[in-house]
């Protein structure tokens, strides 16, 4: 029983990262059909902003030493900032471009951000221990669970609730949900496109910052590629969750996290290195079963 509980928490904490990532990608995809490959680099960028640029091995904190009450909003704002900036400087100028062009532009942008960080900080991982108080255990139902996992899961739930409230209760939220489903129709009802898109980028960037924090608290390191693997999984979660469905993206994020942990648990040792192959094969199977995704909106059309 305690083992099951532990596995459940493992799955939930990994799934949390994927779910937040998927949400960030789904928000942008929803409003402008952009598969934003720069998202992973927003994650790294928001964390590296805490560090003083140096290629030396030692980490020089730039803003990392400030109390969490300042640090957390700072990282989240940086994420939002870089995301909004990329919309204004790049994506706004590509409104009429097709999805392939948009995607490659986002890749190019991510490439620029990554190489910029590489030049300023080198590829050596930077250690930074923020929120060290989380390195403890708590007992839940007889199982000893790392506090960090509990906090990650709890923070994810809080973020999801806050975002749901925003989307359900506010005018902006309503417009964003409508825009995610059918952007053109929303505009024909007077929804201002640029504002909604900008807002989507801002929230997406904030989520990137939050993921960055979750990763850095978990790993204690900032690494140029820290956002990459989360972003790839999140991207897949967005699609198998059902395009245009934010809810589907979140559920799919948790499902992939769960599948990954489950594979790690049940696969025999010799097969464990092939874990990702099984997970991705499962993705293909799901897509064949439900090409529109698990939770495709009821009026979803194939638009890409």
């Amino acid at each position: 029983m305690t083992a099951v509980l532990q596995i459940l928490f493992d799955a939930l904490s990994l799934g949390s990262l994927y779910a937040l990532g998927a949400l960030g990608i789904a928000l942008i995809f929803g409003v402008m059909r952009l598969v934003n490959f720069a998202h992973g680099d927003y994650i790294s960028f928001s964390i590296f902003a805490l560090l003083w640029p140096t290629t030396a091995a030692t980490t020089i904190l730039f803003l990392g030493q400030v109390p969490p009450a300042v640090l957390i909003p700072f990282v989240i704002l940086i994420g939002a900032g870089v995301s909004v900036l990329s919309e204004i400087l790049v994506f706004r100028r590509l409104r009429d471009a097709n999805p392939a062009t948009l995607m490659i532009a986002s890749f190019a942008l991510g490439f620029v951000i990554k190489n910029l960080l590489l030049m300023l900080y080198s590829s050596r991982p930077k250690s930074l221990s923020i929120l060290p108080g989380l390195a403890q255990q708590v007992e839940i139902g007889g199982a000893r669970i790392p506090l960090l996992q509990v906090v990650t899961v709890a923070a994810t739930i809080v973020i999801l609730i806050a975002l749901t409230a925003f989307l359900k209760r506010t005018r902006f939220g309503l417009e964003m949900r409508a825009a995610a489903q059918d952007f053109t129709m929303a505009r024909m009802l007077g929804v201002r496109a640029n504002r909604v898109i900008l807002l989507a980028f801002a929230i997406s960037g904030m989520l990137a910052g939050a993921i960055g924090l979750a990763i850095v608290v978990q790993t204690g390191t900032a690494d140029i590629n820290m956002g990459l693997s989360v972003m790839l999984v999140a991207f897949i979660a967005t699609v198998i969750g059902g395009l245009g469905s934010l809810y589907g993206a979140v559920v799919a994020g948790f499902l992939i996290g769960g599948a990954s942990v489950l594979m790690q648990v049940i696969l025999p040792l010799d097969a464990r290195p092939f874990r990702d192959a099984f997970v991705y094969a499962l993705v293909i199977v799901v897509l064949l079963w439900r090409p529109q995704g698990l939770f495709a909106p009821r009026t979803a059309k194939q638009r890409v």
């Binding site: 949900r177 489903q181 059918d182 053109t184 129709m185 505009r187 009802l189 496109a193 909106p297 009821r298």
Partner: protein, 244 residues
Amino acid sequence: MTLLAVEGLSVRYGQLTALRDASLMLDEGETLFVTGPNGAGKSTLMKAIAGVVRPAAGCIRLGGRDITGEAPETIARLGFSMVPEGRQVFGELTVDENLRLGAGMRGDRAGAARDLESVFESFPMLKERRDGAAGLLSGGQQQMLVIARALMTRPRLVAIDEPSLGLAPLVIDQVYELLLRLRAERRLTLLVVEQSSTRATMTGGRMMLLRSGRVVLEGDARELNASGAVERAYFGYSDAEEPA
């Protein structure tokens, strides 16, 4: 007073010309039917007015203001409310949210709330289902919803693209009944696209016939139909090439 004026409008998709040199005028309080066979350019014309597609040539004026090439939201905010073909409800949103979205660009919350009540009066069915997902409504109910949603924007002009598409004849009757009633009650200016001219004849109003991207016929719906000009123009007999 002329509310909508379209002059020499052409739209191209790549190398395909979907609309060629189309013109139309619509006075306030008037009803205009645009008909024509599949692929004649009817929907393209609507989309061009709504700002969804960019015209290659020509000019569109709404209430005297040039709106050619403006963004859809700007045009909507100027009072052009479009009900596109295929009913485009936001299926994930509730009925209530769909309607509120329509009222979104209006500053007056109180007015919007009043309108919501009046819409619910006109569409009691929507009131019953107001918290249900719009995607779960039947086709006819969805059509009612999008019309109601269009009304929520307090439009000067409502454009409806193929309201009868995919609906059972009985439901189509209901939809038109409603449109007629609204026209009477609210003095709406209507721009309706239909494939067949039957409805236009029944409803009455001006009619325009498009074929292969050109306006080939224009006039009073009932008169045109009685003269048999519609039939000839529709199927492309040469004597109908000249606008009557």
